[in-house]
Symmetry: C2
Subunit: 385 residues, 2 copies
């Protein structure tokens, strides 16, 4: 096991009716800026619940944070927060709203120039407006971590911002708020959660059996619950289980002391930038291909995964690995997310600029830092369909 530091100060308030606790969670006397997305929270009653719970606070609003939240949009919120001397941010929505709000939190007190610089150099984050969240879409894990993924439209760039200072002080997770989600978002969220786990688990063995089993715990639960949410979308426990899985998948726990490989996410971000695919869709396309491409390096863990999560028995090593990858691909399709570029009408040739970008940047990805632009090209070829 590697040495590690684990520190996650976010308070999680989980369950039915918990939005009503907001009044006790937001520090008294704060000027709150509430951020949200396209307005679904006004249709599903969440907005009203939040406003009622915040009765005693001074609240202003910033709506319109888009999926893959954009620097350009967020900078408007930064101006509004500065002008209004806001001292608490409340994000109400899914991972994009939370991520965007984390950027706003760090950008408001930043006086060193363009806040995008902080995305390029995380050490520049030295202060942040405190924030809390009401999560309405389980997927990114943003509700309990210090990471935000931000897109810069002008630069055609999408990158993570990371800091201990942008962990939410609290996150409210009421599974009932997820009943009204479109099926596509639920499916994308399951894929995102699943891939977060495998990216921290399917690497190489460092003798960390507890972390392995904690990862498998999430995967097995997703495999079990995913068909249920399709069959009966409004079952509380199923929604609750999916929501808690997504938080546990990326709160720093399962990565304690083990290597990780976020190549799927990093290449996926480019598919979103260039083709506007949903984040979950990019992962469903890329992840089986990354596993296939790296099967030799990941062999031992792929076999363990096949056996423990998918119950594969009695096959030789190579066939077991084939089964692991096939089951993963099949799972993504079963929840409703296609896994080939051709399913989205994307030609392999159109991906050339992605390869170019990795070439320019010289990025090396994967737990062995062996995925460069040539390997990206090979992986994309495996995604063609």
């Amino acid at each position: 096991m590697f040495n590690f530091t684990f520190h996650n100060p976010t308070k999680i308030v989980f369950g039915k009716g918990t939005i009503s606790e907001l009044g006790n969670l937001v520090p008294p006397g704060c000027k709150v800026l509430m951020t949200y997305g396209g307005g679904s929270i006004k249709r599903n009653g969440v907005y009203d619940q939040v406003m009622e719970a915040l009765g005693a606070c001074s609240v202003t609003e910033f709506g319109g944070v888009e999926p893959n939240p954009r620097y350009e949009t967020l900078m408007k919120a930064v101006e509004q927060a500065r002008a209004g001397e806001v001292d608490f941010l409340l994000a109400v929505g899914g991972g994009s709203v939370l991520d965007g709000t984390k950027f706003i939190a760090a950008a408001v007190p930043y006086r060193g120039g363009d806040p995008w610089d902080m995305v390029l150099d995380h050490a520049l984050v030295t202060a942040a407006v405190p924030m809390g969240a009401v999560l309405t879409l389980p997927a990114t894990g943003s509700e309990m971590n210090g990471t935000a993924v931000i897109s810069h439209e002008t630069l055609q760039d999408k990158r993570p911002l990371k800091s201990l200072l942008i962990y939410p002080q609290f996150s409210i997770l009421d599974p009932e708020t997820t009943y009204s989600l479109p099926e596509r978002q639920v499916a994308n969220g399951i894929v995102d959660t699943f891939v977060h786990v495998t990216e921290q688990y399917l690497t190489y063995d460092v003798n960390a059996p507890l972390q392995d089993r904690q990862a498998e715990a999430i995967l097995s639960t997703l495999v079990e619950e995913a068909p249920k949410v399709k069959a009966n979308p409004n079952t509380y426990d199923v929604r609750a289980n999916l929501m808690w899985c997504s938080t546990q998948a990326l709160n720093g726990l399962i990565v304690c002391g083990v290597p990780s490989d976020f190549a799927t996410h990093l290449i996926g971000h480019e598919l979103t930038v260039f083709f506007g695919l949903d984040h979950g869709q990019t992962l469903a396309i890329l992840h089986p291909a990354v596993l296939q491409h790296q099967r030799e390096h990941k062999a031992q863990k792929l076999i363990q995964y096949a056996q423990r999560v998918w119950g594969v028995r009695g096959l030789g090593d190579e066939e077991t690995i084939d089964a692991a990858i096939a089951k993963t691909d099949e799972f993504f399709r079963s929840v409703g997310v296609p896994t080939k570029l051709s399913d989205y009408g994307i030609e392999l040739a159109a991906c050339k600029p992605i390869v170019e970008r990795f070439k320019e940047r010289g990025t090396k990805m994967g737990e062995h830092k062996n995925i460069g632009y040539r390997e990206v090209e090979e992986i994309l070829a495996l995604c063609a369909g």
Copy 2:
């Protein structure tokens, strides 16, 4: 799943050589009171490592915190801390030193009378001196929770103190510090960890499959690692895995949204008070008996536990439950902790005062609050041997 709140602000610094990071973890300029136990840290080099790392701090010491730390001893440390105007406590040792230090932390600023009152009424804890820890004995989970179990010699009492204010700010876990532990303490620690998990897992099903699997992850890892530490005590990864298991067992994670049953611990405390047994020994004696006594109420979970942790297959329900309990008992004995009162030379008749005590207090324990003094008597009878 039940509603829940999860909030654990302790920073864990885990791994080889991590004591050297103390200088960055203790707030600069603090007057530190370092607490420890019987002095083993002076023999195994931990004391020297700590002192070297704290080079720049003003440090005083309080040694002699005993196993099952006593109010009477701790009050001397409270006086010393008050007199020295200490503003940071550093506990170096096992769960007893950590628990004792948590009590000191809360007692120092307490001006409402006798600090024991806080043990009887946790709401009286409204402030605490900040503390950190260097853990040298994996067992209690105290390094990442807000609980301290304190014994009052004069009153012949042993009770938990709980507060959000007594979470360590940080805990350093260096598995190498555990190499020099006596075998008996290692064995007790494994039993303590195992029982912490089962007390939060072997209750009744509330449709929380992730929490179930997270609990099983710890149990399966303990079952796997325990024989290894006996065979090769100085294997780093084995020590690391056991240490991380014990932290994860009682840091609030696996109890999220599920019922718990701490009857084994609560009755066990009395066996320590009356007969001076090690904490782990009391659990090894009582736990199989509690499971046996409550087998009807815990049937579903006992069957799941037998199948998933012990690989029991092909038996009827009752036989599967028999196997679950027998395997548990066997496991405790296999690590070196006997499971019957008679193994420790204790006659059942001598336990009468324990039953009386539960009668006086009117305590009802277990996830169904169905374990009162009569049931305690029946459980103790099952422990006789």
